[in-house]
């Protein structure tokens, strides 16, 4: 029984803040995650991980571990013949064969009756390593002669970039000789940068740095694996994409895809970190070796040390403008540290650097660099927060240098629909200008001078604004809609419901078919029963699966009307669906109930087909979505502590299918963005070992660190989105680091370019200013 809060919106079922149907199960602790599954005969898995970031494995002796009572299997790479010496992706590096390339890389696996026994078994495994030189800093690792990371001949893995609908038209470049750790390279150029810089009045050169950060989902990676006697594998997984998991496991273990069933359990947060297979292959192998169900749950320490974090990004920018504010040229490079395997989304960075604001001349290079650290994966708008931190900070400094209003300066040069992106594609319709303009009307922005002047008690007050966004993702997908014998609807997708999208999809289906939302049940099917569905990522769920659901519902509606037309001897064009009946327009007593149509399709000997609407669209047009953020802060100059007094998020969502869920996405994304801005960093030593592998020292923001996050929803419809909707998940993580850096400069006069903007950095910068 959902309580529907009706608003005076135009279309039925859209724009209504309907509550998620799974909320009651979540507040009572009834909803099930992988670690809650406890089948009979369950074994617990533990992995032995390398303490060294780069080493040769000379010898592994598991004999004492195997002899420990309660241990059911101990495996090394020697026990898994399909493993390749040159693992093409991180997922293929199930257990290290003869070399480890990051500290935390799995070297052996144990399955035991109890977790404590599995841990003791790890202590009994002896590994002899020959420690090798480590490539721990990306700037050093780029140079010729750096210790090599990849096996020679491994190709750059662009599947991550493809999964995020990356950008066409960005040219790949040939690597400089002997720089073995540069795994991807790209360059975007236009015009004559040198000439334009020479003609500029104001030239600013800065280097921005954002460390590796972890996606920070509360539920660690977890998987339960079990085989049946016929050789079929079932995986209960915490995943953002059951079909992707299935494909990766099939590829790694050389199994047919239809022998693997992935059942996506409730996912306790993903944000891009649970797209790629990680624990599934080894758990499957342990289950096969023992003939028992095996469950593997990563510890938090393992997640931080050996997860798949966001890349470290180092961006040097040199910009030139005229004193009147004309943009002349931007030149620079973006270095993305990808860890031990390639996978960074390089192209997005270049496009935002060179053409979010329209630079007539640009030369921007991108490099992906390998180091001996855990390889990266996506993190909510991958590379966008780091890129926007650089370009937005730069634009703010330029505006200040020439005495221009920071918002007007951005609006003046901001891309609009039809302008050329750096890759020569046109910018599609988007609400960037609208969200920035809207935010600039907020009293907190308008009253920033008064706020600053009100600084007291030794504290310094300031305000900052910034703009960022995401280009939007694409992936082919499918959906089905069935009419039940009682007239209710059944919608099936393979979509993992990460962001509450299922309720939005139900709203779309209800509206497209013509019934109340209470008549619609939406189910996420496993990979055996659901139509092929893409990742719950890239801000593309509502945009793509929403269209599939809408089309499937329309297909079901058409079939329903076709059956009714025959019964009522009327034309389909004269028919309506109202109050669970198909009626002839203007003749309300001439009708047939949906239930009777549903029954007809299910009766023994009936010649009427059951209504089954299907759709399996592919897409080629992205829907960029933008977000602007505004921060009012107070700084303690002696300790560097920042107090967030107010934080406002304005976002273009195209069409707000479910405003309540959208607000939650905006607030959550903004707080992740603030964490990146203020406190989060994976800190490695010079041997590429993580020095802060706990949540005590990997600092995510608590409720005590934050104010209420105010949200403003802006709607600039996307031409191809369902009812005009755009993706919502990614844009809000993008702008905060720049907004905070801008606010700190407003308050203290100090410009910081290295995240996080910690109290130490702020206090010492002020002390030395």
């Amino acid at each position: 029984m959902s309580s529907v809060m009706k608003t005076t919106r135009d279309v039925k079922g859209i724009g209504i803040s309907i509550l998620r149907p799974d909320a009651p199960d979540k507040v009572t602790g009834q909803i099930q995650y992988v670690a809650d599954l406890n089948p009979p005969g369950l074994l617990h898995a533990k992995l032995l991980r390398s303490p060294h970031a780069h080493a040769r494995i000379i010898r592994i002796d598991v004999s004492r571990a195997r002899a420990l009572p309660g241990v059911r299997a101990v495996l090394t790479a020697a026990d898994i013949p399909v493993l390749k010496k040159k693992a093409p992706t991180r997922a293929h590096a199930v257990l290290a064969i003869d070399r480890v390339v990051f500290a935390g890389q799995p070297v052996a696996a144990v399955a035991a009756d109890e977790l404590a026994i599995a841990e003791e078994a790890l202590d009994l495994i002896e590994v002899q390593y020959e420690v090798l030189p480590v490539a721990s800093d990306p700037l050093e690792s780029m140079k010729p002669g750096a210790p090599p990371v990849a096996e020679v001949g491994t190709e750059a893995d662009t599947s991550e970039a493809l999964a995020h609908g990356s950008v066409a038209g960005v040219t790949a470049e040939a690597k400089p000789a002997k720089a073995v750790n540069i795994s991807q390279q790209a360059r975007l150029q236009r015009g004559d940068v040198a000439k334009a810089l020479a003609e500029s009045d104001v030239v600013i050169e800065k280097t921005y740095r954002v460390p590796m950060v972890h996606q920070g989902y509360l539920e660690p990676h977890a998987v339960l694996a079990q085989w049946d006697r016929a050789g079929n594998l079932t995986l209960w997984a915490s995943t953002q994409g059951s079909f992707n998991t299935r494909s990766e496991v099939a590829d790694v273990l050389e199994l047919p895809e239809n022998r693997i069933k992935v059942i996506p359990m409730e996912c306790g947060g993903g944000f891009g970190g649970k797209i790629r297979a990680l624990c599934e292959p080894i758990t499957a192998v342990l289950a096969r070796a023992t003939g028992r169900p095996v469950r593997y749950v990563m510890t938090r320490r393992e997640e931080l040390e050996a997860g798949m974090p966001a890349p470290q990004v180092i961006i040097r920018l040199k910009t030139g403008v005229k004193r009147d504010g004309t943009l002349m040229a931007i030149e620079g490079e973006a270095i993305l540290e990808s860890g031990a395997f390639s996978g960074a989304v390089l192209a997005v960075s270049g496009v935002f650097l060179a053409s979010l604001y329209l630079w007539p001349n640009f030369d921007v290079k991108g490099f992906e660099v390998l180091t001996h650290k855990p390889s990266i994966a996506a993190y909510r708008a991958p590379v966008a927060p780091q890129t926007i931190f650089a370009i937005d900070s730069q634009m703010e400094q330029i505006a200040k240098a020439i005495g221009a209003d920071p918002v007007e300066f951005r609006l003046r040069h901001l891309q609009r629909e039809g302008d050329k992106m750096a890759n020569n594609q046109p910018w599609l319709s988007n609400g960037a200008a609208e969200v920035l303009t809207r935010l600039a009307e907020h009293p907190i922005w308008k009253k920033r001078a008064e706020w600053k002047a009100s600084s007291k008690g030794g504290k310094l007050r300031g305000t900052g604004i910034s703009l960022g966004g995401w280009l939007g993702g694409l992936q082919p997908t499918g959906a089905t809609v069935r009419l039940n014998p009682d007239g209710t609807l059944q919608v099936m997708t393979g979509q993992v419901d990460i962001a509450g999208t299922n309720i939005a999809l139900a709203q779309i289906a209800a509206t497209a078919y013509g019934v109340d939302i209470d008549n619609v049940k939406i189910t996420t099917g496993d990979t055996d029963v659901a139509p092929m569905t893409g990742l719950s990522a890239g801000s593309k769920t509502t945009y793509t699966v929403g269209v599939a659901v809408m089309q499937a519902a329309q297909d079901a509606r058409n079939q329903t009307l076709g059956i009714a037309a025959k019964e009522l001897e009327a034309s389909v064009h004269d028919l309506e669906i109202e109050n669970d009946k198909v009626v002839v327009r203007g003749v309300p007593d001439k009708g047939i109930t949906l239930a009777s149509i549903g029954k007809k399709g299910n009766l023994y000997m009936s010649k009427v087909e059951p209504v089954l609407g299907t759709a399996h669209p592919a897409f080629s047009v992205q829907a960029p979505a933008f977000c602007a953020q505004l921060a009012r802060i107070e700084v303690d100059p002696d300790t560097g502590e920042v107090t967030l007094h107010n934080f406002v998020v304005a976002q273009d969502v195209g069409k707000a299918i479910n405003p309540l869920q959208i607000e939650g996405q905006m607030q959550g994304g903004a707080v992740q963005s603030l964490g990146m801005a203020l406190t989060e960093a994976l800190i490695y030593d010079d041997k590429a070992r993580l020095t802060n592998p706990s949540l005590l020292d990997y600092r995510k923001l608590t409720s005590a660190d934050l104010p209420n996050i105010e949200t403003i929803i802006v709607e600039k419809p996307a031409p191809h989105g369902p009812f005009g909707a755009r993706g919502v998940g990614e844009p809000p993580i993008v702008p905060a680091p720049a907004a905070i850096a801008n606010a700190i400069e407003d308050a203290t006069g100090v410009r910081l370019t290295h995240l996080p903007l910690s109290s130490e950095r702020i206090a010492l910068a002020i002390a030395s200013a």
């Binding site: 909320a23 920070g216 509360l218 944000f271 990460i498 939650g664 005590l696 409720s703």
Partner: protein
């Protein structure tokens, strides 16, 4: 090593469970008593997902050995509210659209319930500190504040 007998009260019922000496209370609740509401998010007391009540006080159950609960009263999320009837906090969380992935929610609700028992009309700052031991990655906490404030009937105090 032999198991030990844990006698305590869990969710208003007497419980007698055989546990291993090295098991945490969180593990015993989840694996022995079928109460999977409390979650392990970190195992080191740094995230709050395992929050239960021990004699009415919110504690990190991942930091207690199961046997340390002997003779004590334990309440988990499954014991908040009664059969078929949500606790006012649970109801408010649903209506305000709080849960997203849901993983932190049992812990947050237990912390909030303990806060309101001890301090029925907290200020905004007191609520924020009352759940500051609970990390959430999905929601940004704002809707939690609204739900808890409404339940408390509190007027939000301004942050100083």
């Amino acid at each position: 090593m032999a198991k030990q007998v844990l006698n305590c009260t869990v969710n208003d019922e007497l419980a007698e469970v055989l546990v291993q000496p090295w098991e945490t209370l969180l593990e015993a609740l989840r694996e022995r008593m079928g109460l999977t509401g409390p979650k392990e998010g970190c195992g080191t007391g740094d995230c709050g997902a395992c929050t239960v009540h021990l004699d009415g006080k919110p504690v990190a159950s991942c930091l207690l050995l199961a046997m340390q609960a002997r003779g004590h009263v334990v309440r988990t999320i499954e014991g908040l509210g009664k059969l078929g009837l949500l606790h006012p906090l649970q109801d408010a969380f649903v209506r305000h659209g709080v849960p997203q992935c849901g993983f932190c929610i049992p812990g947050v609700l237990m912390a909030a319930a303990a806060l309101l028992t001890e301090n029925p009309h907290p200020t905004e700052e007191e609520i924020r500190y009352g759940i500051a031991g609970n990390l959430c990655r999905c929601t940004g906490y704002t809707k939690m504040l609204a739900a808890i404030t409404e339940t408390a009937g509190a007027t939000a105090g301004r942050r100083s």
